[in-house]
Amino acid sequence: MEATAHRWPEEGLTRVPYWVYSDRALYEEEQARIFRGPTWNFLCLEAELPGPNSYRRSNLGAMPVVVTRDQDGTLHAFENRCAHRGSLLVLNESGEARDIICVYHNWSYDLTGNLTGVAFRKGLGGKGGMPAQCRPEDHGPRKLRLETLSGLVFGTLSGDAPPLEQYLGPEIVARIRRVLRAPVKLLGGYSQTLPSNWKLYMENVKDTYHASLLHTFFTTFRLNRLSQKGGIVVSDCGGHHVSYSLAADTGGKEYEQAGMRAAQEGFGLEAPQLLEAVDEFGDGIGLQILSVFPTFVLQQTRNSLAVRRLVPQGLDQTELVWTCFGFTTDDDDMTERRLRQANLIGPAGYISMEDGAAPGFVQRAVTTAPDLLSVVEMGGASVASDDNRVTEAAVRGFWKAYRGYVGL
Protein backbone atom coordinates (compact mmCIF):
# COMPACT_ATOMS: atom_id res chain seq x y z
CA MET A 1 0.00 0.00 0.00
CA GLU A 2 1.42 3.36 -0.93
CA ALA A 3 2.05 5.88 1.79
CA THR A 4 1.60 8.78 -0.56
CA ALA A 5 1.57 9.57 -4.25
CA HIS A 6 5.03 11.12 -3.82
CA ARG A 7 8.32 9.43 -4.61
CA TRP A 8 11.60 10.00 -2.78
CA PRO A 9 14.20 11.91 -4.83
CA GLU A 10 16.51 9.62 -6.75
CA GLU A 11 19.58 11.05 -4.96
CA GLY A 12 18.46 9.16 -1.88
CA LEU A 13 19.40 10.17 1.64
CA THR A 14 21.25 13.35 0.68
CA ARG A 15 17.94 14.96 -0.19
CA VAL A 16 14.81 15.47 1.91
CA PRO A 17 11.72 16.51 -0.05
CA TYR A 18 9.69 19.17 1.72
CA TRP A 19 6.37 17.40 1.23
CA VAL A 20 7.34 15.12 4.12
CA TYR A 21 6.44 17.97 6.48
CA SER A 22 3.10 18.91 4.94
CA ASP A 23 1.48 15.80 3.43
CA ARG A 24 -1.64 14.87 5.38
CA ALA A 25 -1.88 11.30 4.06
CA LEU A 26 1.75 10.67 4.97
CA TYR A 27 1.13 11.91 8.52
CA GLU A 28 -1.59 9.28 8.95
CA GLU A 29 0.66 6.60 7.48
CA GLU A 30 3.36 7.53 9.97
CA GLN A 31 0.91 7.02 12.82
CA ALA A 32 0.02 3.55 11.55
CA ARG A 33 3.39 2.31 10.30
CA ILE A 34 5.78 3.95 12.74
CA PHE A 35 4.04 4.76 16.02
CA ARG A 36 1.61 1.84 15.96
CA GLY A 37 4.13 -0.27 14.04
CA PRO A 38 7.20 -2.34 14.94
CA THR A 39 8.99 0.43 16.84
CA TRP A 40 9.68 0.92 20.52
CA ASN A 41 8.29 4.18 21.88
CA PHE A 42 9.35 5.80 25.12
CA LEU A 43 6.33 6.17 27.39
CA CYS A 44 7.65 7.35 30.75
CA LEU A 45 10.22 6.75 33.46
CA GLU A 46 9.62 3.93 35.93
CA ALA A 47 10.12 6.59 38.58
CA GLU A 48 6.97 8.32 37.29
CA LEU A 49 4.93 5.31 38.45
CA PRO A 50 6.17 5.35 41.97
CA GLY A 51 4.02 2.78 43.71
CA PRO A 52 1.56 -0.04 43.18
CA ASN A 53 -1.87 0.90 41.81
CA SER A 54 -0.58 3.98 40.02
CA TYR A 55 -1.19 5.21 36.51
CA ARG A 56 0.08 7.84 34.12
CA ARG A 57 -1.02 9.00 30.69
CA SER A 58 1.34 8.90 27.75
CA ASN A 59 1.25 8.56 23.97
CA LEU A 60 2.19 6.26 21.14
CA GLY A 61 2.59 8.97 18.55
CA ALA A 62 -0.75 10.73 18.65
CA MET A 63 -2.52 7.74 20.22
CA PRO A 64 -3.44 8.27 23.87
CA VAL A 65 -2.13 5.57 26.18
CA VAL A 66 -2.40 4.71 29.87
CA VAL A 67 0.60 3.20 31.65
CA THR A 68 -0.09 1.47 34.97
CA ARG A 69 1.71 -0.25 37.78
CA ASP A 70 -0.49 -2.92 39.30
CA GLN A 71 -0.64 -4.02 42.93
CA ASP A 72 2.18 -6.51 42.36
CA GLY A 73 4.38 -3.80 40.88
CA THR A 74 4.09 -5.02 37.28
CA LEU A 75 3.83 -2.41 34.54
CA HIS A 76 1.13 -2.45 31.87
CA ALA A 77 0.07 -0.12 29.10
CA PHE A 78 -3.00 0.07 26.94
CA GLU A 79 -4.86 2.39 24.69
CA ASN A 80 -6.76 5.11 26.53
CA ARG A 81 -10.07 4.20 24.86
CA CYS A 82 -13.18 2.54 26.21
CA ALA A 83 -14.43 -0.68 24.56
CA HIS A 84 -17.94 0.72 24.49
CA ARG A 85 -18.26 4.04 22.64
CA GLY A 86 -14.58 4.92 22.45
CA SER A 87 -14.35 7.52 25.20
CA LEU A 88 -11.07 8.35 26.90
CA LEU A 89 -10.83 6.16 29.99
CA VAL A 90 -8.37 8.18 31.99
CA LEU A 91 -8.77 11.94 32.11
CA ASN A 92 -6.17 12.92 34.71
CA GLU A 93 -2.47 13.04 33.89
CA SER A 94 -1.57 10.62 36.68
CA GLY A 95 -2.77 9.23 39.95
CA GLU A 96 -3.50 6.17 42.02
CA ALA A 97 -6.33 3.74 41.38
CA ARG A 98 -7.07 0.06 41.82
CA ASP A 99 -9.21 0.05 38.71
CA ILE A 100 -10.25 2.36 35.95
CA ILE A 101 -13.85 3.45 35.50
CA CYS A 102 -15.00 5.14 32.30
CA VAL A 103 -16.95 8.28 33.22
CA TYR A 104 -19.36 7.92 30.33
CA HIS A 105 -21.20 4.68 31.22
CA ASN A 106 -19.19 3.41 34.20
CA TRP A 107 -17.64 0.45 32.39
CA SER A 108 -14.75 -0.76 34.52
CA TYR A 109 -11.28 -2.09 33.74
CA ASP A 110 -8.46 -3.57 35.73
CA LEU A 111 -4.97 -2.10 35.49
CA THR A 112 -4.03 -4.45 32.65
CA GLY A 113 -6.77 -2.97 30.47
CA ASN A 114 -9.15 -5.93 30.78
CA LEU A 115 -12.84 -5.06 30.85
CA THR A 116 -14.16 -6.19 34.21
CA GLY A 117 -17.61 -4.66 34.41
CA VAL A 118 -20.44 -3.36 32.26
CA ALA A 119 -23.04 -1.27 34.07
CA PHE A 120 -26.55 -2.74 33.84
CA ARG A 121 -25.24 -5.60 31.72
CA LYS A 122 -28.19 -7.73 32.71
CA GLY A 123 -30.66 -4.87 32.54
CA LEU A 124 -32.83 -3.53 35.30
CA GLY A 125 -35.95 -5.16 36.64
CA GLY A 126 -35.83 -7.78 33.94
CA LYS A 127 -35.76 -5.21 31.12
CA GLY A 128 -32.98 -4.02 28.88
CA GLY A 129 -29.37 -5.02 29.25
CA MET A 130 -26.97 -6.49 26.78
CA PRO A 131 -27.68 -9.72 24.80
CA ALA A 132 -25.84 -12.65 26.36
CA GLN A 133 -23.81 -13.35 23.22
CA CYS A 134 -22.50 -9.79 23.00
CA ARG A 135 -18.80 -9.58 23.87
CA PRO A 136 -17.60 -6.02 24.15
CA GLU A 137 -14.36 -7.45 25.56
CA ASP A 138 -13.43 -8.20 21.96
CA HIS A 139 -13.37 -4.47 21.20
CA GLY A 140 -11.32 -3.47 24.19
CA PRO A 141 -8.45 -1.02 24.31
CA ARG A 142 -5.39 -2.34 22.48
CA LYS A 143 -2.65 -3.53 24.78
CA LEU A 144 0.99 -2.58 24.39
CA ARG A 145 3.99 -4.83 24.91
CA LEU A 146 6.30 -3.18 27.41
CA GLU A 147 10.01 -3.48 28.03
CA THR A 148 12.11 -1.44 30.41
CA LEU A 149 15.78 -0.57 30.21
CA SER A 150 17.54 1.25 33.02
CA GLY A 151 14.29 2.68 34.30
CA LEU A 152 13.03 3.79 30.87
CA VAL A 153 9.64 2.34 29.90
CA PHE A 154 9.19 1.57 26.20
CA GLY A 155 6.04 0.25 24.55
CA THR A 156 4.96 -1.12 21.22
CA LEU A 157 1.65 -2.16 19.69
CA SER A 158 3.32 -4.50 17.24
CA GLY A 159 4.10 -8.17 17.74
CA ASP A 160 6.75 -7.75 15.04
CA ALA A 161 8.96 -5.41 17.02
CA PRO A 162 12.16 -7.26 17.98
CA PRO A 163 13.19 -7.35 21.65
CA LEU A 164 14.08 -3.83 22.82
CA GLU A 165 17.82 -4.40 23.18
CA GLN A 166 17.96 -5.86 19.70
CA TYR A 167 15.97 -2.89 18.36
CA LEU A 168 18.40 -0.47 20.01
CA GLY A 169 21.65 -2.27 19.27
CA PRO A 170 24.55 -2.71 21.68
CA GLU A 171 26.07 0.76 21.23
CA ILE A 172 22.85 2.56 22.10
CA VAL A 173 22.13 0.20 25.01
CA ALA A 174 25.60 0.81 26.44
CA ARG A 175 25.22 4.57 26.31
CA ILE A 176 21.77 4.47 27.89
CA ARG A 177 23.19 2.37 30.71
CA ARG A 178 26.13 4.79 31.00
CA VAL A 179 23.89 7.71 31.87
CA LEU A 180 21.24 5.85 33.87
CA ARG A 181 23.81 4.65 36.34
CA ALA A 182 21.65 4.72 39.50
CA PRO A 183 17.98 4.86 40.55
CA VAL A 184 16.30 7.96 39.17
CA LYS A 185 15.11 10.86 41.31
CA LEU A 186 12.73 13.21 39.50
CA LEU A 187 13.56 16.92 39.53
CA GLY A 188 10.55 18.12 37.52
CA GLY A 189 9.25 18.63 34.02
CA TYR A 190 7.66 20.95 31.50
CA SER A 191 6.58 20.93 27.86
CA GLN A 192 7.16 23.02 24.80
CA THR A 193 4.62 23.41 22.03
CA LEU A 194 6.70 23.37 18.86
CA PRO A 195 5.13 25.01 15.81
CA SER A 196 6.39 22.30 13.51
CA ASN A 197 6.13 18.76 12.25
CA TRP A 198 7.61 16.24 14.72
CA LYS A 199 10.31 15.15 12.28
CA LEU A 200 11.88 18.60 12.20
CA TYR A 201 12.62 18.39 15.92
CA MET A 202 14.13 14.91 15.64
CA GLU A 203 16.35 16.14 12.79
CA ASN A 204 17.45 19.04 14.98
CA VAL A 205 18.45 16.64 17.78
CA LYS A 206 20.45 14.48 15.39
CA ASP A 207 22.07 17.45 13.68
CA THR A 208 25.49 17.80 15.26
CA TYR A 209 26.47 20.35 12.63
CA HIS A 210 24.23 23.17 13.93
CA ALA A 211 25.16 22.92 17.60
CA SER A 212 27.93 25.52 17.74
CA LEU A 213 26.54 27.66 14.93
CA LEU A 214 22.97 28.30 16.09
CA HIS A 215 23.75 28.14 19.79
CA THR A 216 26.25 30.90 20.39
CA PHE A 217 26.25 30.41 24.15
CA PHE A 218 27.44 26.84 23.62
CA THR A 219 30.42 27.87 21.56
CA THR A 220 31.45 30.97 23.40
CA PHE A 221 31.73 29.16 26.70
CA ARG A 222 33.52 26.26 25.06
CA LEU A 223 30.87 23.76 26.07
CA ASN A 224 30.81 21.99 22.72
CA ARG A 225 33.02 23.42 20.04
CA LEU A 226 33.31 21.14 17.04
CA SER A 227 37.05 21.27 17.47
CA GLN A 228 36.65 19.42 20.76
CA LYS A 229 37.20 15.70 20.67
CA GLY A 230 34.09 13.68 20.31
CA GLY A 231 32.14 11.75 17.79
CA ILE A 232 28.91 10.43 16.51
CA VAL A 233 27.50 6.92 16.59
CA VAL A 234 24.72 6.00 14.19
CA SER A 235 22.95 2.68 14.71
CA ASP A 236 22.93 0.14 11.89
CA CYS A 237 19.27 0.79 11.15
CA GLY A 238 20.04 4.51 11.01
CA GLY A 239 17.25 5.51 13.34
CA HIS A 240 19.17 5.87 16.59
CA HIS A 241 22.22 7.98 17.29
CA VAL A 242 24.60 9.19 19.95
CA SER A 243 26.57 12.41 19.72
CA TYR A 244 29.19 12.96 22.38
CA SER A 245 32.10 15.20 23.22
CA LEU A 246 34.81 15.30 25.82
CA ALA A 247 34.66 17.96 28.48
CA ALA A 248 38.16 19.28 27.98
CA ASP A 249 38.59 22.22 25.67
CA THR A 250 41.26 21.70 23.06
CA GLY A 251 41.64 25.49 22.74
CA GLY A 252 41.22 25.60 18.99
CA LYS A 253 41.02 28.95 17.24
CA GLU A 254 39.20 27.86 14.09
CA TYR A 255 36.11 29.89 14.83
CA GLU A 256 37.89 33.12 15.65
CA GLN A 257 39.95 32.88 12.49
CA ALA A 258 36.91 32.18 10.37
CA GLY A 259 35.20 35.19 11.91
CA MET A 260 31.95 33.43 12.42
CA ARG A 261 29.20 35.08 14.42
CA ALA A 262 29.45 32.38 17.03
CA ALA A 263 32.79 33.43 18.44
CA GLN A 264 32.72 36.50 20.68
CA GLU A 265 35.99 36.98 22.54
CA GLY A 266 35.72 38.33 26.02
CA PHE A 267 32.16 37.22 26.54
CA GLY A 268 32.66 35.89 30.00
CA LEU A 269 30.05 34.89 32.55
CA GLU A 270 29.81 37.07 35.64
CA ALA A 271 28.56 34.02 37.48
CA PRO A 272 30.61 31.13 36.05
CA GLN A 273 29.33 28.75 38.70
CA LEU A 274 26.51 28.12 36.24
CA LEU A 275 28.89 25.81 34.41
CA GLU A 276 30.57 24.23 37.42
CA ALA A 277 30.40 20.51 36.75
CA VAL A 278 31.78 17.20 37.97
CA ASP A 279 32.69 14.11 35.97
CA GLU A 280 30.00 11.93 37.54
CA PHE A 281 30.31 9.23 34.87
CA GLY A 282 34.08 9.00 35.24
CA ASP A 283 34.90 8.94 31.55
CA GLY A 284 35.54 12.58 30.67
CA ILE A 285 32.54 12.81 28.37
CA GLY A 286 30.80 16.08 29.19
CA LEU A 287 28.04 15.92 26.62
CA GLN A 288 26.02 13.02 25.29
CA ILE A 289 22.86 13.38 23.25
CA LEU A 290 21.20 10.07 22.40
CA SER A 291 18.12 9.53 20.27
CA VAL A 292 15.99 6.46 19.63
CA PHE A 293 13.68 6.22 16.62
CA PRO A 294 11.09 7.52 16.45
CA THR A 295 10.85 10.18 19.16
CA PHE A 296 13.00 9.59 22.25
CA VAL A 297 15.93 11.65 23.47
CA LEU A 298 18.24 11.06 26.43
CA GLN A 299 20.31 14.12 27.26
CA GLN A 300 23.43 14.47 29.34
CA THR A 301 24.63 18.07 29.32
CA ARG A 302 27.39 17.97 31.91
CA ASN A 303 25.34 17.14 35.02
CA SER A 304 21.98 18.16 33.61
CA LEU A 305 20.12 14.98 32.73
CA ALA A 306 16.77 14.71 31.00
CA VAL A 307 14.56 12.53 28.86
CA ARG A 308 12.43 14.01 26.11
CA ARG A 309 9.60 12.59 24.04
CA LEU A 310 7.42 14.01 21.29
CA VAL A 311 3.66 14.00 20.88
CA PRO A 312 2.66 14.75 17.28
CA GLN A 313 -0.39 17.03 17.30
CA GLY A 314 -0.95 17.47 13.59
CA LEU A 315 1.18 18.28 10.62
CA ASP A 316 2.67 21.43 12.08
CA GLN A 317 2.43 21.13 15.84
CA THR A 318 4.25 18.90 18.31
CA GLU A 319 4.46 18.76 22.07
CA LEU A 320 7.99 18.25 23.36
CA VAL A 321 7.78 16.72 26.84
CA TRP A 322 10.80 17.17 29.13
CA THR A 323 11.51 15.31 32.35
CA CYS A 324 14.65 16.24 34.25
CA PHE A 325 16.17 13.95 36.80
CA GLY A 326 19.08 13.11 39.06
CA PHE A 327 19.73 10.05 41.15
CA THR A 328 18.66 8.97 44.61
CA THR A 329 22.39 8.89 45.44
CA ASP A 330 22.81 12.65 44.76
CA ASP A 331 23.79 14.85 47.68
CA ASP A 332 22.38 18.37 48.04
CA ASP A 333 25.34 19.90 46.17
CA MET A 334 24.78 17.62 43.19
CA THR A 335 21.07 18.39 43.10
CA GLU A 336 21.79 22.11 43.24
CA ARG A 337 24.37 21.68 40.47
CA ARG A 338 21.81 19.94 38.27
CA LEU A 339 19.25 22.67 38.89
CA ARG A 340 21.76 25.40 38.05
CA GLN A 341 22.86 23.66 34.88
CA ALA A 342 19.22 23.22 33.87
CA ASN A 343 19.44 26.89 32.89
CA LEU A 344 21.20 25.54 29.80
CA ILE A 345 18.31 23.36 28.64
CA GLY A 346 14.57 23.45 28.14
CA PRO A 347 12.39 26.19 26.64
CA ALA A 348 14.44 28.93 28.30
CA GLY A 349 17.70 27.08 27.92
CA TYR A 350 20.82 29.04 27.11
CA ILE A 351 21.79 26.37 24.60
CA SER A 352 18.45 24.88 23.67
CA MET A 353 15.95 27.72 23.41
CA GLU A 354 16.73 28.09 19.72
CA ASP A 355 15.79 24.46 19.11
CA GLY A 356 12.23 25.34 20.02
CA ALA A 357 12.05 27.88 17.24
CA ALA A 358 14.31 26.55 14.47
CA PRO A 359 11.96 23.68 13.48
CA GLY A 360 9.20 26.27 13.13
CA PHE A 361 11.42 28.43 10.91
CA VAL A 362 11.69 25.49 8.52
CA GLN A 363 7.98 24.60 8.70
CA ARG A 364 7.00 28.16 7.80
CA ALA A 365 9.34 28.38 4.84
CA VAL A 366 8.80 24.97 3.24
CA THR A 367 5.04 24.49 3.39
CA THR A 368 4.71 26.34 0.08
CA ALA A 369 7.61 24.41 -1.49
CA PRO A 370 6.41 20.81 -1.24
CA ASP A 371 8.08 19.66 -4.44
CA LEU A 372 11.46 21.17 -3.62
CA LEU A 373 14.32 19.59 -1.68
CA SER A 374 16.69 20.18 1.19
CA VAL A 375 20.34 19.28 0.78
CA VAL A 376 21.85 17.04 3.46
CA GLU A 377 25.46 16.47 2.40
CA MET A 378 27.62 17.50 5.35
CA GLY A 379 29.85 14.49 5.80
CA GLY A 380 28.99 13.29 2.31
CA ALA A 381 26.35 10.60 1.96
CA SER A 382 27.47 8.52 4.91
CA VAL A 383 25.19 7.18 7.62
CA ALA A 384 28.12 5.72 9.50
CA SER A 385 29.57 6.49 12.89
CA ASP A 386 32.42 8.99 12.83
CA ASP A 387 34.88 10.70 15.13
CA ASN A 388 34.03 14.11 13.74
CA ARG A 389 30.74 15.91 14.23
CA VAL A 390 30.77 18.27 11.24
CA THR A 391 28.40 15.82 9.64
CA GLU A 392 24.74 15.15 8.98
CA ALA A 393 25.15 11.37 9.12
CA ALA A 394 22.60 10.95 11.91
CA VAL A 395 20.06 13.04 10.00
CA ARG A 396 20.50 10.83 6.94
CA GLY A 397 20.23 7.83 9.27
CA PHE A 398 16.87 9.07 10.51
CA TRP A 399 15.55 9.22 6.93
CA LYS A 400 16.98 5.79 6.15
CA ALA A 401 14.96 4.30 9.00
CA TYR A 402 11.91 6.44 8.25
CA ARG A 403 11.75 5.42 4.61
CA GLY A 404 11.91 1.78 5.63
CA TYR A 405 8.93 2.04 7.95
CA VAL A 406 6.66 4.05 5.68
CA GLY A 407 7.70 2.35 2.45
CA LEU A 408 9.25 5.33 0.66
Binding site: G188, Y190, Y350, M353
Partner: protein, 156 residues
Protein backbone atom coordinates in the same frame (compact mmCIF):
# COMPACT_ATOMS: atom_id res chain seq x y z
CA UNK B 1 -3.98 46.28 56.05
CA UNK B 2 -0.81 48.36 55.95
CA UNK B 3 -1.66 50.72 53.16
CA UNK B 4 1.82 52.13 52.77
CA UNK B 5 3.30 48.64 52.45
CA UNK B 6 0.59 47.66 49.98
CA UNK B 7 1.36 50.67 47.79
CA UNK B 8 5.11 50.10 47.95
CA UNK B 9 4.71 46.53 46.77
CA UNK B 10 2.31 47.59 44.01
CA UNK B 11 4.77 50.26 42.92
CA UNK B 12 7.62 47.74 42.84
CA UNK B 13 5.50 45.35 40.79
CA UNK B 14 4.47 48.05 38.33
CA UNK B 15 8.05 49.19 37.78
CA UNK B 16 9.24 45.59 37.44
CA UNK B 17 6.84 44.69 34.65
CA UNK B 18 7.32 48.07 32.98
CA UNK B 19 11.08 47.44 32.70
CA UNK B 20 10.49 44.12 31.00
CA UNK B 21 7.64 45.27 28.76
CA UNK B 22 9.54 48.39 27.70
CA UNK B 23 12.55 46.29 26.73
CA UNK B 24 14.71 47.79 29.48
CA UNK B 25 16.12 44.39 30.36
CA UNK B 26 19.34 45.87 31.69
CA UNK B 27 17.29 47.29 34.57
CA UNK B 28 15.74 43.92 35.38
CA UNK B 29 18.52 42.56 37.64
CA UNK B 30 18.44 45.76 39.73
CA UNK B 31 15.00 44.82 41.00
CA UNK B 32 16.69 42.06 42.97
CA UNK B 33 19.04 42.07 45.93
CA UNK B 34 22.67 41.10 45.27
CA UNK B 35 21.96 37.48 46.18
CA UNK B 36 18.35 37.60 45.12
CA UNK B 37 16.76 34.46 43.74
CA UNK B 38 14.63 34.27 40.61
CA UNK B 39 13.02 31.04 39.54
CA UNK B 40 10.44 30.17 36.92
CA UNK B 41 8.59 26.90 37.39
CA UNK B 42 5.20 25.28 36.77
CA UNK B 43 2.31 24.79 39.18
CA UNK B 44 2.65 21.06 38.60
CA UNK B 45 6.29 21.05 39.75
CA UNK B 46 5.54 23.38 42.65
CA UNK B 47 2.61 21.34 43.96
CA UNK B 48 4.64 18.13 43.81
CA UNK B 49 7.59 19.68 45.61
CA UNK B 50 9.81 19.22 42.54
CA UNK B 51 12.58 21.84 42.42
CA UNK B 52 13.19 22.16 38.66
CA UNK B 53 13.18 25.66 37.20
CA UNK B 54 12.93 26.76 33.60
CA UNK B 55 15.08 29.63 34.80
CA UNK B 56 17.00 29.22 38.06
CA UNK B 57 19.05 32.17 39.25
CA UNK B 58 20.53 32.64 42.70
CA UNK B 59 22.22 36.02 42.31
CA UNK B 60 21.93 39.33 40.56
CA UNK B 61 25.07 38.39 38.62
CA UNK B 62 23.30 35.37 37.12
CA UNK B 63 20.50 37.66 36.04
CA UNK B 64 22.96 40.00 34.38
CA UNK B 65 24.45 37.03 32.54
CA UNK B 66 21.00 36.11 31.30
CA UNK B 67 20.39 39.62 29.99
CA UNK B 68 23.72 39.63 28.19
CA UNK B 69 23.00 36.24 26.67
CA UNK B 70 19.63 37.44 25.44
CA UNK B 71 21.23 40.55 23.93
CA UNK B 72 24.37 38.99 22.46
CA UNK B 73 24.16 35.23 22.19
CA UNK B 74 20.67 33.76 21.99
CA UNK B 75 18.71 33.76 18.75
CA UNK B 76 14.97 34.37 18.88
CA UNK B 77 12.46 36.25 16.81
CA UNK B 78 11.79 39.83 17.81
CA UNK B 79 8.98 39.87 20.36
CA UNK B 80 7.65 41.88 23.22
CA UNK B 81 5.53 41.22 26.27
CA UNK B 82 2.62 42.97 27.86
CA UNK B 83 2.13 42.03 31.50
CA UNK B 84 -1.19 42.55 33.16
CA UNK B 85 -0.84 42.07 36.90
CA UNK B 86 -3.37 41.73 39.67
CA UNK B 87 -3.30 43.63 42.95
CA UNK B 88 -0.82 41.86 45.18
CA UNK B 89 -1.90 40.03 48.31
CA UNK B 90 0.62 41.40 50.80
CA UNK B 91 1.58 39.91 54.16
CA UNK B 92 4.15 41.71 56.30
CA UNK B 93 7.18 39.53 57.02
CA UNK B 94 8.42 39.73 60.59
CA UNK B 95 11.90 41.19 60.54
CA UNK B 96 11.92 42.75 57.16
CA UNK B 97 9.81 43.36 54.21
CA UNK B 98 6.79 41.44 53.04
CA UNK B 99 5.56 38.40 51.23
CA UNK B 100 3.39 39.09 48.22
CA UNK B 101 1.39 36.93 45.85
CA UNK B 102 0.47 38.54 42.53
CA UNK B 103 -1.42 36.99 39.65
CA UNK B 104 -0.33 37.83 36.11
CA UNK B 105 -1.09 37.35 32.46
CA UNK B 106 1.50 37.94 29.77
CA UNK B 107 0.65 38.55 26.15
CA UNK B 108 3.47 37.91 23.71
CA UNK B 109 3.49 40.01 20.57
CA UNK B 110 5.71 38.80 17.76
CA UNK B 111 7.23 41.16 15.21
CA UNK B 112 4.62 39.83 12.77
CA UNK B 113 1.92 41.25 15.01
CA UNK B 114 0.74 37.81 16.08
CA UNK B 115 -0.42 38.15 19.65
CA UNK B 116 -1.04 35.25 22.01
CA UNK B 117 -1.75 34.71 25.67
CA UNK B 118 1.73 33.41 26.35
CA UNK B 119 1.68 32.86 30.08
CA UNK B 120 -0.53 32.99 33.11
CA UNK B 121 0.52 32.42 36.67
CA UNK B 122 1.44 34.07 39.92
CA UNK B 123 4.47 35.64 41.52
CA UNK B 124 5.38 34.49 45.02
CA UNK B 125 7.70 37.24 46.17
CA UNK B 126 9.78 38.13 49.17
CA UNK B 127 10.16 41.89 49.10
CA UNK B 128 12.78 43.61 51.24
CA UNK B 129 13.69 47.24 51.79
CA UNK B 130 17.36 48.12 51.28
CA UNK B 131 17.89 51.77 52.25
CA UNK B 132 14.20 52.31 51.70
CA UNK B 133 14.33 50.91 48.16
CA UNK B 134 12.06 47.94 47.60
CA UNK B 135 13.67 44.93 45.96
CA UNK B 136 13.00 41.23 45.54
CA UNK B 137 15.02 38.95 47.78
CA UNK B 138 13.22 36.16 46.01
CA UNK B 139 10.78 35.96 43.14
CA UNK B 140 9.19 32.64 42.28
CA UNK B 141 7.24 32.67 39.03
CA UNK B 142 4.69 29.84 39.08
CA UNK B 143 3.18 29.22 35.66
CA UNK B 144 -0.31 27.77 35.69
CA UNK B 145 0.40 25.60 32.63
CA UNK B 146 3.29 23.23 31.93
CA UNK B 147 3.15 24.23 28.24
CA UNK B 148 5.50 26.89 26.86
CA UNK B 149 4.80 28.08 23.32
CA UNK B 150 8.03 27.63 21.34
CA UNK B 151 10.49 29.18 23.79
CA UNK B 152 10.86 31.43 26.81
CA UNK B 153 13.41 34.12 25.99
CA UNK B 154 12.43 37.38 27.71
CA UNK B 155 12.04 36.81 31.46
CA UNK B 156 8.59 36.90 33.03
Amino acid sequence: MNIELQLKVQDLNARYVQAIDDNKLEAWPDFFTEDGRYRVTTAENFERGLPLGLIYATSRAMLRDRVRSLRDANVYEAQRYRHIIASPLVTPDEGRGARAQTGFLVARVMHTGETTLFASGRYEDHVVFDDGAARFAEKLVILDSRLIDTLLAIPL
